[in-house]
Assembly symmetry: C2
Homo-oligomer: 351 residues x 2
């Protein structure tokens, strides 16, 4: 064996506290954040990664590009309203759109557990193709690995995507300003509850289907309309709350949300109550927030409401300066509390 | 549940023969090829994917780019000479280089099994950083997912890469011409045997270390030198043989190799004999073939030998027209036989 090149160096994560990776390190909440801040950013540190956005903004060969990746480990592979294939396409398409980029090309890496029915793989691939067509992207390169039985869970899918940035704005948490408003593109919590119901075999009064969908069209329409979009963020793992906390932290500003304005369908709210979930922390796969100057809010709402995927867009909050770096929520009974990131794991393997 | 959108459609893979995914579907040989031809290309069909190259060539925003992805599921995570982290960087860097692109940016997706020691993740990430620095690429975006205990195998890593194409050549199997020669950049079989030895706890007479290394510098130097490179291919899963068969099939030409000229270290040859492997089918992670006109061969060899990673470059074969689409090998005893792809799985989870 070669000499250990790591001799003498020390892992920066306090291993007395987390000597092993926990499920919550992948949950999109506090522990994911720690892993990124304490392990990945120090190792790979560069401005693109440090911006803590859904994707990286790059200049290459004179072109302005966005580049993003996600792996998908959702269980089960098929659930009401969508499946891992459509999720893997829409998730990466939406991350590119949140950078203000027009999604163009995807790569696709499959990690298949030996014994997966060929028919299942085929159904997933067909779903990816339909999702790619719907989102206007092309899958141009891919890879397949097979792992032995008991070393996977049917199928994991990675996609990476490249998009084109056609405008000069820097759409990122650091662009958020005092006086901005926060708009959400539609009702929250459906993806997480749909996956949960499918996994646990639960039956709710009405069928809750995932909101999984591409949101690039309405997101880019805001830019085409000339609106001064400061930040966009899709509300996946960790839900609205985690996205808001990340933006407040990165911008150093105060986001104030009105709980009564946050749209949650009655059946989703009921299912969340039964299971003990807060809809603000449940994952969505076709919802995003837009933060922009108050003067542009009405036009932004009009643009968003022109698309089916965002026709439930509403204003849910405002941005000011204090308390700096925090998110506060005015509840339906009028009390105000600080909204924090998820500290543990609420719904593992939701995406 | 929604109506099944797949009703009436039929999976094109003959499920009577392979109703389930086999390990060999990920082995880089015949079954991987069938999966790509029968399932992925029909679903995603587009010219970039159909070119069957290591990556896709794209035009975006006026820039000529290459885009590639691979997932890494090697077992064990650390092995003589390298580890999954360096492999994940070099593998994608090399795929971009084989498209004639200068590798620039990587994405990185981790799928971690709950319970992985944090120290192990940290060592892998440090190794990725060193490999990225050595290859001149930047990791700009990433993702972490955690799966429950028993649903993974410690760590799987996906990387995708974007590179810049700075020359007008189409470096691809279809550019190969009658009269070309085949050059290999160095000795074969080390990566596969190093992983095998680490996995099985074997001890050979001498330590066999993986050849894992970035090859972009010598590959791009050939282009900078103005040589008419027709095709390059790195010799990973499936080894030299699978790469040669893919190129012969795609070009419709005949590749004729001289077994005596194919460089294999004595200790590697011995280990292969003991274990019943053919070094031409064993994976490498720092070796590639170059196919170019005979007139350019001497200059190409001189360029390659100027780099440490390719200082063992030699000529191993020629290209002509018949038998069309086949690879033949003249053995050390003078007999000629057809070289085929691996039909089963030789070394699972080698990369």
């Amino acid at each position: 064996m070669a000499a250990d090149p790591f001799a003498g160096a020390v892992c920066p994560i306090p291993i007395s506290r987390y000597p092993e990776v926990q499920l919550a390190h992948g949950g999109g909440g506090r522990l994911t954040d720690q892993l990124i801040e304490d392990l990945f950013i120090p190792a790979f540190g560069n401005p693109a990664l440090g911006a803590r956005h859904d994707g990286a903004r790059l200049e290459l060969g004179g072109a302005r590009l966005a580049f993003s990746t996600d792996s998908y480990v959702v269980r089960p592979l098929f659930f009401p309203g969508s499946d891992i294939g459509a999720l893997a396409v829409n998730g990466t398409v939406n991350d590119l759109a949140m950078c203000g980029a027009r999604p163009k090309y995807l790569s696709c890496g499959f990690i298949i557990e030996e014994g997966l029915p060929m028919e299942t793989l085929w159904r997933v691939v067909q779903s990816m193709r339909r999702a790619a067509d719907a989102a206007g992207v092309t899958v141009v390169t891919g890879d397949t690995k097979v792992v032995d039985r008991g070393k996977g869970d049917g199928l994991y899918v990675n996609t990476a995507g490249v998009g084109l940035v056609e405008h000069p704005h820097v759409i990122a948490p650091m662009s958020v300003r005092d006086g901005d408003v926060v708009i959400v593109s539609g009702d929250l919590g459906r993806h997480g509850m749909a996956v949960m119901a499918a996994r646990e075999g639960l039956e709710f009064e009405s069928a809750i289907e995932s909101d999984c969908a591409p949101v690039a069209a309405p997101a880019l329409a805001l830019l085409d309309e000339g609106l001064a979009v400061h930040c966009m963020r899709d509300l996946t793992r960790g839900g609205l709350a985690s996205a808001m906390v990340e933006i407040a932290t990165a911008s150093g500003l105060h986001l104030h949300l009105d709980e009564r304005a946050i749209p949650v369908r009655e059946d989703v709210r009921g299912a969340c109550e039964v299971l003990g979930f807060d809809p603000c922390y449940v994952a969505n796969e076709g919802r995003f927030v837009v933060i922009l100057p108050a003067d542009d809010a009405d036009r932004a709402l009009a643009v968003l409401r022109g698309f089916e995927v965002s026709n439930g867009a509403v204003r849910i909050g405002t941005v000011d300066t204090t308390p700096a770096g925090l998110v506060t929520l005015r509840s339906s009974i009028g009390a105000t509390r600080v909204m924090d990131m998820l500290s543990g794991e609420q719904l593992p393997r939701i995406c």
